[in-house]
Symmetry: C2
Subunit: 218 residues, 2 copies
Protein backbone atom coordinates (compact mmCIF):
# COMPACT_ATOMS: atom_id res chain seq x y z
CA UNK A 1 0.00 0.00 0.00
CA UNK A 2 1.51 3.31 -1.10
CA UNK A 3 0.67 6.38 0.98
CA UNK A 4 -1.02 9.25 -0.83
CA UNK A 5 -0.07 12.76 0.20
CA UNK A 6 -2.27 15.55 -1.16
CA UNK A 7 -0.42 18.84 -1.28
CA UNK A 8 2.21 20.92 -3.05
CA UNK A 9 6.02 20.82 -2.87
CA UNK A 10 6.17 24.62 -2.36
CA UNK A 11 4.02 24.42 0.79
CA UNK A 12 5.86 24.34 4.10
CA UNK A 13 3.14 22.18 5.66
CA UNK A 14 3.26 19.70 2.78
CA UNK A 15 7.05 19.45 2.89
CA UNK A 16 6.96 18.98 6.68
CA UNK A 17 5.07 15.73 5.98
CA UNK A 18 7.25 14.83 2.96
CA UNK A 19 10.49 15.20 4.91
CA UNK A 20 9.16 12.83 7.56
CA UNK A 21 8.11 10.27 4.94
CA UNK A 22 11.56 10.50 3.31
CA UNK A 23 13.31 10.13 6.70
CA UNK A 24 11.45 6.84 7.11
CA UNK A 25 11.97 5.86 3.44
CA UNK A 26 8.23 5.37 3.02
CA UNK A 27 6.92 5.14 -0.54
CA UNK A 28 4.30 7.77 -1.18
CA UNK A 29 2.54 9.35 -4.10
CA UNK A 30 2.29 13.15 -4.04
CA UNK A 31 -1.13 14.13 -5.40
CA UNK A 32 -1.05 17.81 -6.46
CA UNK A 33 -3.87 20.04 -5.20
CA UNK A 34 -4.52 23.09 -7.34
CA UNK A 35 -4.75 25.67 -4.57
CA UNK A 36 -4.61 28.47 -7.15
CA UNK A 37 -7.98 27.24 -8.41
CA UNK A 38 -9.14 26.79 -4.78
CA UNK A 39 -9.43 23.03 -5.30
CA UNK A 40 -8.79 22.62 -1.55
CA UNK A 41 -11.95 24.58 -0.75
CA UNK A 42 -14.24 22.38 -2.86
CA UNK A 43 -16.19 19.25 -1.91
CA UNK A 44 -13.90 16.46 -3.13
CA UNK A 45 -11.01 17.81 -1.07
CA UNK A 46 -13.21 19.00 1.82
CA UNK A 47 -14.34 15.40 2.30
CA UNK A 48 -10.70 14.62 3.15
CA UNK A 49 -10.08 17.74 5.26
CA UNK A 50 -13.19 19.74 6.25
CA UNK A 51 -11.01 22.77 7.06
CA UNK A 52 -9.77 22.91 3.46
CA UNK A 53 -6.01 22.96 3.95
CA UNK A 54 -3.14 20.92 2.56
CA UNK A 55 -1.62 18.44 3.23
CA UNK A 56 -3.79 15.38 3.65
CA UNK A 57 -2.34 11.89 4.06
CA UNK A 58 -4.16 8.73 3.05
CA UNK A 59 -2.88 5.42 4.39
CA UNK A 60 -5.37 2.90 3.08
CA UNK A 61 -8.74 3.83 4.56
CA UNK A 62 -7.22 6.21 7.10
CA UNK A 63 -7.35 9.89 6.17
CA UNK A 64 -5.34 12.39 8.21
CA UNK A 65 -4.83 16.13 8.05
CA UNK A 66 -2.73 18.68 9.95
CA UNK A 67 0.93 18.28 9.05
CA UNK A 68 2.11 17.79 12.65
CA UNK A 69 -0.47 15.04 13.23
CA UNK A 70 0.69 13.41 9.99
CA UNK A 71 4.37 13.50 10.99
CA UNK A 72 3.50 12.18 14.47
CA UNK A 73 1.58 9.30 12.87
CA UNK A 74 4.37 8.43 10.41
CA UNK A 75 7.03 8.69 13.14
CA UNK A 76 4.97 6.40 15.41
CA UNK A 77 4.08 3.87 12.70
CA UNK A 78 7.73 3.47 11.70
CA UNK A 79 9.22 4.05 15.13
CA UNK A 80 11.50 1.02 14.84
CA UNK A 81 13.09 2.49 11.69
CA UNK A 82 15.99 4.86 12.35
CA UNK A 83 15.98 7.74 12.98
CA UNK A 84 13.56 7.24 15.85
CA UNK A 85 11.95 10.67 15.60
CA UNK A 86 9.79 10.25 18.71
CA UNK A 87 12.34 8.51 21.03
CA UNK A 88 9.80 5.85 21.90
CA UNK A 89 12.18 3.85 24.10
CA UNK A 90 12.70 6.70 26.57
CA UNK A 91 9.61 8.37 28.10
CA UNK A 92 11.52 11.47 29.17
CA UNK A 93 13.11 12.03 25.78
CA UNK A 94 9.74 11.40 24.14
CA UNK A 95 8.17 14.03 26.41
CA UNK A 96 10.83 16.59 25.49
CA UNK A 97 10.23 15.90 21.79
CA UNK A 98 6.58 16.77 22.41
CA UNK A 99 7.53 19.98 24.25
CA UNK A 100 9.77 21.26 21.48
CA UNK A 101 7.36 20.22 18.75
CA UNK A 102 4.77 22.40 20.52
CA UNK A 103 7.34 25.21 20.68
CA UNK A 104 7.74 25.12 16.90
CA UNK A 105 3.98 25.16 16.52
CA UNK A 106 3.19 27.91 19.03
CA UNK A 107 6.23 30.23 19.00
CA UNK A 108 8.44 29.65 15.96
CA UNK A 109 5.88 29.15 13.19
CA UNK A 110 3.63 32.07 14.27
CA UNK A 111 6.64 34.42 13.97
CA UNK A 112 8.23 32.93 10.83
CA UNK A 113 5.07 32.36 8.83
CA UNK A 114 4.06 36.06 8.49
CA UNK A 115 7.65 36.92 7.50
CA UNK A 116 7.63 34.29 4.77
CA UNK A 117 4.21 35.52 3.67
CA UNK A 118 5.38 39.10 3.26
CA UNK A 119 8.62 38.22 1.46
CA UNK A 120 7.30 35.46 -0.84
CA UNK A 121 3.52 35.22 -1.01
CA UNK A 122 2.79 38.96 -1.20
CA UNK A 123 5.15 39.53 -4.19
CA UNK A 124 3.81 36.33 -5.76
CA UNK A 125 0.37 38.00 -5.55
CA UNK A 126 1.68 41.29 -6.92
CA UNK A 127 1.75 43.09 -3.55
CA UNK A 128 4.50 44.93 -1.70
CA UNK A 129 5.73 43.28 1.51
CA UNK A 130 4.27 45.01 4.59
CA UNK A 131 7.29 46.29 6.51
CA UNK A 132 5.38 46.70 9.79
CA UNK A 133 4.27 43.04 9.76
CA UNK A 134 7.85 41.98 9.12
CA UNK A 135 9.21 44.18 11.92
CA UNK A 136 6.67 42.94 14.47
CA UNK A 137 7.44 39.34 13.71
CA UNK A 138 11.19 39.85 13.58
CA UNK A 139 10.93 41.01 17.20
CA UNK A 140 8.93 37.91 18.14
CA UNK A 141 11.36 35.67 16.27
CA UNK A 142 14.34 37.24 18.02
CA UNK A 143 12.90 36.28 21.41
CA UNK A 144 12.35 32.71 20.22
CA UNK A 145 15.81 32.40 18.66
CA UNK A 146 17.47 33.65 21.84
CA UNK A 147 15.83 30.76 23.69
CA UNK A 148 16.97 28.36 20.95
CA UNK A 149 20.55 29.64 21.13
CA UNK A 150 20.65 29.01 24.89
CA UNK A 151 19.08 25.56 24.50
CA UNK A 152 21.31 24.53 21.59
CA UNK A 153 24.40 25.54 23.56
CA UNK A 154 23.63 22.69 25.97
CA UNK A 155 22.18 20.04 23.62
CA UNK A 156 22.93 19.39 19.95
CA UNK A 157 19.26 19.36 18.96
CA UNK A 158 16.19 20.98 20.48
CA UNK A 159 14.86 18.09 22.55
CA UNK A 160 18.29 16.67 23.42
CA UNK A 161 21.35 15.17 21.75
CA UNK A 162 19.24 13.46 19.11
CA UNK A 163 17.52 14.54 15.90
CA UNK A 164 13.76 14.35 16.41
CA UNK A 165 10.37 15.41 15.12
CA UNK A 166 10.93 18.71 16.94
CA UNK A 167 13.88 19.60 14.70
CA UNK A 168 12.29 18.16 11.56
CA UNK A 169 9.23 20.32 12.09
CA UNK A 170 11.34 23.49 11.66
CA UNK A 171 13.05 22.66 8.37
CA UNK A 172 10.50 23.75 5.74
CA UNK A 173 9.76 27.19 7.13
CA UNK A 174 13.40 27.92 7.98
CA UNK A 175 14.40 27.10 4.40
CA UNK A 176 12.31 30.05 3.18
CA UNK A 177 13.37 32.27 6.09
CA UNK A 178 17.02 31.76 5.09
CA UNK A 179 16.28 33.33 1.70
CA UNK A 180 15.18 36.59 3.36
CA UNK A 181 17.23 39.28 5.13
CA UNK A 182 16.23 37.46 8.36
CA UNK A 183 18.83 34.82 7.52
CA UNK A 184 21.25 37.02 9.45
CA UNK A 185 19.23 36.36 12.62
CA UNK A 186 20.12 32.68 12.31
CA UNK A 187 23.67 33.22 11.06
CA UNK A 188 24.54 35.50 13.98
CA UNK A 189 23.69 32.85 16.58
CA UNK A 190 26.47 30.23 16.42
CA UNK A 191 24.54 27.32 17.94
CA UNK A 192 21.38 28.02 15.99
CA UNK A 193 23.45 28.35 12.81
CA UNK A 194 25.22 25.02 13.42
CA UNK A 195 21.85 23.37 14.17
CA UNK A 196 20.33 24.74 10.96
CA UNK A 197 23.32 23.60 8.89
CA UNK A 198 22.98 20.14 10.41
CA UNK A 199 19.23 19.65 10.00
CA UNK A 200 19.15 21.18 6.51
CA UNK A 201 21.89 18.91 5.22
CA UNK A 202 20.00 15.68 5.84
CA UNK A 203 19.21 13.63 2.70
CA UNK A 204 15.46 13.64 3.45
CA UNK A 205 15.35 17.43 3.11
CA UNK A 206 17.52 17.39 0.00
CA UNK A 207 14.82 15.28 -1.66
CA UNK A 208 12.22 18.05 -1.29
CA UNK A 209 14.19 21.29 -1.40
CA UNK A 210 14.21 21.48 -5.20
CA UNK A 211 10.44 21.88 -5.26
CA UNK A 212 10.36 24.60 -2.60
CA UNK A 213 10.00 27.78 -4.58
CA UNK A 214 7.51 30.60 -5.05
CA UNK A 215 9.17 31.22 -8.38
CA UNK A 216 12.07 33.15 -6.89
CA UNK A 217 14.62 30.70 -8.26
CA UNK A 218 13.40 30.82 -11.86
CA UNK B 1 6.74 11.09 43.87
CA UNK B 2 4.08 13.79 43.65
CA UNK B 3 3.92 15.81 40.43
CA UNK B 4 4.32 19.57 40.76
CA UNK B 5 2.26 21.75 38.46
CA UNK B 6 3.19 25.43 38.36
CA UNK B 7 0.28 27.57 37.28
CA UNK B 8 -3.05 29.11 38.23
CA UNK B 9 -6.54 27.59 38.42
CA UNK B 10 -7.99 30.52 36.44
CA UNK B 11 -5.68 29.82 33.48
CA UNK B 12 -7.09 27.73 30.63
CA UNK B 13 -3.66 26.26 29.88
CA UNK B 14 -3.12 25.31 33.53
CA UNK B 15 -6.55 23.69 33.84
CA UNK B 16 -5.98 21.79 30.57
CA UNK B 17 -3.12 20.02 32.40
CA UNK B 18 -5.07 19.73 35.68
CA UNK B 19 -8.07 18.08 34.02
CA UNK B 20 -5.76 15.49 32.47
CA UNK B 21 -4.07 14.77 35.82
CA UNK B 22 -7.50 14.41 37.47
CA UNK B 23 -8.72 12.09 34.69
CA UNK B 24 -5.78 9.82 35.52
CA UNK B 25 -6.22 10.32 39.30
CA UNK B 26 -2.59 11.41 39.57
CA UNK B 27 -1.57 13.14 42.80
CA UNK B 28 -0.12 16.56 42.10
CA UNK B 29 0.72 19.72 43.96
CA UNK B 30 -0.41 22.96 42.34
CA UNK B 31 2.30 25.57 42.90
CA UNK B 32 0.83 29.05 42.36
CA UNK B 33 2.75 31.43 40.07
CA UNK B 34 2.09 35.10 40.71
CA UNK B 35 1.61 36.20 37.11
CA UNK B 36 0.26 39.57 38.31
CA UNK B 37 3.74 40.26 39.71
CA UNK B 38 5.28 38.80 36.50
CA UNK B 39 6.85 35.98 38.48
CA UNK B 40 6.71 33.85 35.31
CA UNK B 41 9.01 36.31 33.52
CA UNK B 42 11.76 36.17 36.14
CA UNK B 43 14.78 33.83 36.42
CA UNK B 44 13.55 31.18 38.86
CA UNK B 45 10.53 30.43 36.66
CA UNK B 46 12.40 31.02 33.37
CA UNK B 47 14.76 28.20 34.32
CA UNK B 48 11.72 25.91 34.16
CA UNK B 49 10.21 27.43 31.01
CA UNK B 50 12.45 29.82 29.05
CA UNK B 51 9.42 31.25 27.26
CA UNK B 52 7.91 32.38 30.56
CA UNK B 53 4.45 30.89 30.38
CA UNK B 54 2.40 28.72 32.71
CA UNK B 55 1.91 25.83 33.24
CA UNK B 56 5.06 23.86 33.95
CA UNK B 57 5.00 20.24 35.11
CA UNK B 58 7.74 18.67 37.19
CA UNK B 59 7.83 14.88 37.43
CA UNK B 60 10.95 14.19 39.47
CA UNK B 61 13.87 15.56 37.45
CA UNK B 62 11.81 15.98 34.30
CA UNK B 63 10.54 19.51 33.62
CA UNK B 64 7.94 20.03 30.92
CA UNK B 65 6.12 23.05 29.56
CA UNK B 66 3.40 23.67 26.95
CA UNK B 67 0.07 22.38 28.23
CA UNK B 68 -0.57 20.08 25.26
CA UNK B 69 2.86 18.46 25.65
CA UNK B 70 2.10 18.00 29.35
CA UNK B 71 -1.27 16.36 28.69
CA UNK B 72 0.29 14.13 26.01
CA UNK B 73 2.98 13.05 28.49
CA UNK B 74 0.51 12.34 31.29
CA UNK B 75 -1.84 10.49 28.93
CA UNK B 76 1.07 8.39 27.64
CA UNK B 77 2.59 7.67 31.07
CA UNK B 78 -0.75 6.45 32.44
CA UNK B 79 -2.06 4.99 29.19
CA UNK B 80 -3.12 1.75 30.87
CA UNK B 81 -5.38 3.71 33.25
CA UNK B 82 -8.87 4.39 31.93
CA UNK B 83 -9.84 6.55 30.17
CA UNK B 84 -7.18 5.83 27.56
CA UNK B 85 -6.94 9.39 26.25
CA UNK B 86 -4.53 8.53 23.42
CA UNK B 87 -6.07 5.20 22.27
CA UNK B 88 -2.71 3.52 22.34
CA UNK B 89 -4.03 0.10 21.36
CA UNK B 90 -5.32 1.29 17.98
CA UNK B 91 -2.94 3.16 15.67
CA UNK B 92 -5.75 4.62 13.56
CA UNK B 93 -7.70 5.92 16.55
CA UNK B 94 -4.47 7.28 18.04
CA UNK B 95 -3.77 9.11 14.77
CA UNK B 96 -7.23 10.68 14.77
CA UNK B 97 -6.72 11.84 18.36
CA UNK B 98 -3.59 13.64 17.15
CA UNK B 99 -5.47 15.22 14.24
CA UNK B 100 -8.26 16.63 16.41
CA UNK B 101 -5.85 17.74 19.13
CA UNK B 102 -4.08 19.76 16.43
CA UNK B 103 -7.45 21.15 15.33
CA UNK B 104 -8.10 22.47 18.85
CA UNK B 105 -4.65 24.00 18.88
CA UNK B 106 -4.69 25.57 15.40
CA UNK B 107 -8.34 26.43 14.72
CA UNK B 108 -10.45 26.41 17.89
CA UNK B 109 -8.10 28.04 20.40
CA UNK B 110 -6.96 30.85 18.05
CA UNK B 111 -10.63 31.87 17.60
CA UNK B 112 -11.83 31.34 21.19
CA UNK B 113 -8.84 32.81 23.00
CA UNK B 114 -9.25 36.41 21.72
CA UNK B 115 -12.99 36.25 22.53
CA UNK B 116 -12.23 35.17 26.10
CA UNK B 117 -9.58 37.88 26.31
CA UNK B 118 -11.98 40.64 25.31
CA UNK B 119 -14.84 39.49 27.57
CA UNK B 120 -12.80 38.58 30.68
CA UNK B 121 -9.21 39.79 30.65
CA UNK B 122 -9.89 43.28 29.23
CA UNK B 123 -12.53 44.15 31.90
CA UNK B 124 -10.27 42.57 34.55
CA UNK B 125 -7.64 45.11 33.39
CA UNK B 126 -10.15 47.97 33.38
CA UNK B 127 -10.57 48.07 29.58
CA UNK B 128 -13.65 47.88 27.37
CA UNK B 129 -13.94 44.74 25.23
CA UNK B 130 -12.97 45.46 21.59
CA UNK B 131 -16.07 44.66 19.57
CA UNK B 132 -14.17 44.35 16.27
CA UNK B 133 -11.84 41.70 17.70
CA UNK B 134 -14.84 39.78 19.00
CA UNK B 135 -16.67 40.00 15.67
CA UNK B 136 -13.66 38.82 13.66
CA UNK B 137 -13.15 35.81 15.88
CA UNK B 138 -16.84 34.96 16.08
CA UNK B 139 -16.71 34.57 12.30
CA UNK B 140 -13.68 32.28 12.56
CA UNK B 141 -15.28 30.29 15.37
CA UNK B 142 -18.47 29.84 13.35
CA UNK B 143 -16.51 28.15 10.56
CA UNK B 144 -14.83 25.83 13.07
CA UNK B 145 -18.06 24.99 14.88
CA UNK B 146 -19.80 24.13 11.61
CA UNK B 147 -17.09 21.53 10.99
CA UNK B 148 -17.51 20.24 14.55
CA UNK B 149 -21.29 19.96 14.15
CA UNK B 150 -20.85 17.85 11.02
CA UNK B 151 -18.19 15.68 12.65
CA UNK B 152 -20.13 15.21 15.88
CA UNK B 153 -23.21 14.15 13.93
CA UNK B 154 -21.29 11.04 12.85
CA UNK B 155 -19.18 10.31 15.96
CA UNK B 156 -19.95 11.00 19.62
CA UNK B 157 -16.58 12.69 20.24
CA UNK B 158 -14.19 14.53 17.94
CA UNK B 159 -11.75 11.72 17.15
CA UNK B 160 -14.36 8.93 17.22
CA UNK B 161 -16.81 7.28 19.60
CA UNK B 162 -14.45 7.66 22.53
CA UNK B 163 -13.49 10.51 24.87
CA UNK B 164 -9.88 11.49 24.17
CA UNK B 165 -7.21 14.12 24.64
CA UNK B 166 -8.77 15.95 21.68
CA UNK B 167 -12.01 16.56 23.58
CA UNK B 168 -10.27 17.21 26.90
CA UNK B 169 -8.15 19.89 25.29
CA UNK B 170 -11.28 21.97 24.55
CA UNK B 171 -12.83 22.01 28.02
CA UNK B 172 -11.07 24.91 29.77
CA UNK B 173 -11.50 27.50 27.05
CA UNK B 174 -15.08 26.45 26.25
CA UNK B 175 -16.00 26.89 29.93
CA UNK B 176 -15.21 30.60 29.64
CA UNK B 177 -16.74 30.89 26.17
CA UNK B 178 -20.04 29.56 27.59
CA UNK B 179 -20.19 32.55 29.94
CA UNK B 180 -20.19 34.99 27.02
CA UNK B 181 -22.91 35.79 24.47
CA UNK B 182 -21.08 33.30 22.20
CA UNK B 183 -22.63 30.49 24.25
CA UNK B 184 -25.51 30.70 21.80
CA UNK B 185 -23.14 29.56 19.03
CA UNK B 186 -22.67 26.27 20.88
CA UNK B 187 -26.27 25.97 22.07
CA UNK B 188 -27.67 26.38 18.56
CA UNK B 189 -25.73 23.39 17.22
CA UNK B 190 -27.38 20.27 18.66
CA UNK B 191 -24.44 17.89 18.31
CA UNK B 192 -21.89 20.41 19.55
CA UNK B 193 -24.19 21.25 22.47
CA UNK B 194 -24.61 17.57 23.43
CA UNK B 195 -20.82 17.09 23.16
CA UNK B 196 -20.15 20.09 25.40
CA UNK B 197 -22.70 18.92 27.98
CA UNK B 198 -21.01 15.52 27.98
CA UNK B 199 -17.38 16.60 28.26
CA UNK B 200 -18.12 19.36 30.80
CA UNK B 201 -19.98 17.00 33.11
CA UNK B 202 -17.01 14.70 33.73
CA UNK B 203 -15.78 14.55 37.37
CA UNK B 204 -12.25 15.59 36.39
CA UNK B 205 -13.53 18.94 35.13
CA UNK B 206 -15.77 19.41 38.15
CA UNK B 207 -12.64 19.29 40.29
CA UNK B 208 -11.18 22.39 38.62
CA UNK B 209 -14.18 24.45 37.54
CA UNK B 210 -14.59 26.16 40.93
CA UNK B 211 -11.22 27.87 40.50
CA UNK B 212 -11.92 29.09 36.98
CA UNK B 213 -12.87 32.70 37.44
CA UNK B 214 -11.59 36.14 36.50
CA UNK B 215 -13.64 37.46 39.41
CA UNK B 216 -16.89 37.44 37.47
CA UNK B 217 -18.53 35.03 39.93
CA UNK B 218 -17.71 37.03 43.05
Amino acid sequence: MVFKLYGLPMSTNTTRAMICLHEKEVDFELVPVNVFAAEHKQPPFLSKNPFGFIPVLEDGDLTLFESRAITAYVAEKFKETEPDLIRHKDAKEAALVKVWTEVESHYYEPAVSPIIYEYFVAPFQGKEPDKSVIDTNVEKLKTVLDVYEAKLSSTKYLAGDFYSLADLSHVSETHYLMQTPCASMINELPHVKAWWEDISSRPAFNKVVGGMSFGQNH
